[in-house]
């Protein structure tokens, strides 16, 4: 399952930018509105969209969107196992 389209929609909603398109290399430095409050809103919306619950170890150390995608995919796979 490619989660990118769903994740892209979440990013567009959280940042209120329908033109936003995520890429694996994207970081907070690429999106001016992406501060700490926006980041945690993003995390919580991703939890709701994918029906997951993250711990601080899941979300710390995520350097870019690509790592975020990999983490979400791991959590989904673990849930399905």
């Amino acid at each position: 399952m490619d989660i990118r389209p769903t994740l892209n929609k979440v990013f567009q909603q959280v940042f209120e930018r329908p033109d936003l398109n995520i890429s694996d290399a994207m970081t907070a430095q690429d999106v001016p509105e992406w501060d700490s409050l926006a980041h945690i809103n993003l995390i919580v919306e991703i939890e709701e969209e994918f029906n997951l619950k993250f711990t601080v170890n899941d979300i710390s150390g995520l350097k870019n969107v690509g790592e975020m995608i990999a983490m979400i995919e791991r959590k989904i796979a673990a849930r399905s196992a």
């Binding site: 501060d35 700490s36 601080v56 350097k63």
Partner: protein
Amino acid sequence: MNKEPALIMPHYVSVVHQVLLDEAPYLASVIAKQHKEFGDHWLQEFERDLEVFFKASEPALRVATQGYIKFALDGMLLQKRFDKAGCYEPKSYAEAAAEVYQNEEYMHSLYLPGIYLSHFLWRHHYIQHVYFMERFIPMVKRHPGRTFYDVGVGTGFYSREMLRHIDGLKGQGFDLSKSSLDYTRRMVDAFGLGDRYRTNLQDILANPPGPPAAFLTNVEVLEHLEDPVAFLKGLNAMLETGGLAMITAAITAPNADHIYLYRSVDEVVAQVEEAGFKVIESREDAAYTPTKPHESVPKNAVVIATK
């Protein structure tokens, strides 16, 4: 549109900034924001603190900043869950202690470095420090007493600040966490103040210390307790009549070890008074302005009291 010129950061602050940029870029703007609100004095104070405490060890500072990132993220995630639930996650003191205070790895890798850096990087924590300097320290200086107790020392930051700003003052720190006491010993020793200070692994309710002290500090402990008033009565017994106390508490600020929910400084004041203190002044400060209505914000209550 005119962009503000980039902040020129002194060396150790720039180390913190680089770690934030590399590992949590959404947190990196905090340094510029703090500087914008508090100015060059804040920046110089932060730089000096980092240089002295980390003894010019950049690797140690990087590791501490990584701990701060986890500490900040943990708090923010819990804040969002608090907004949905309207209460802190139900937990007994024993459960919180096992998860946090008695967990050496958690304390040293995340909790203590996080709290230490938050004294400079979190708006409401820095305001609390400024208030301590501008209101409490002058009162202490005018008072003839020269002994203090710090109960629930955390990182030892406020013990250190008492010793640093009051010549001849001697103090003792009390905590139930060996990790906190070890960190506190490092803190006071790093600033050359260790000879005027003793640490005690001691429950002040089960085993009250001997004579009362002229001054008392108790920073962000009440929200960790099942019965804050019983604890405050114990603190009251540790203060000399006519002495001065600074007592602070977290308000609507969830954390792994926060179990008692205060919703305003008035609730804290009421408990401090119930315990027998006479409140001199108090204040409440927020970490930030909420971006959405009905969004909770972590706050600090600070109370200065006498007996």
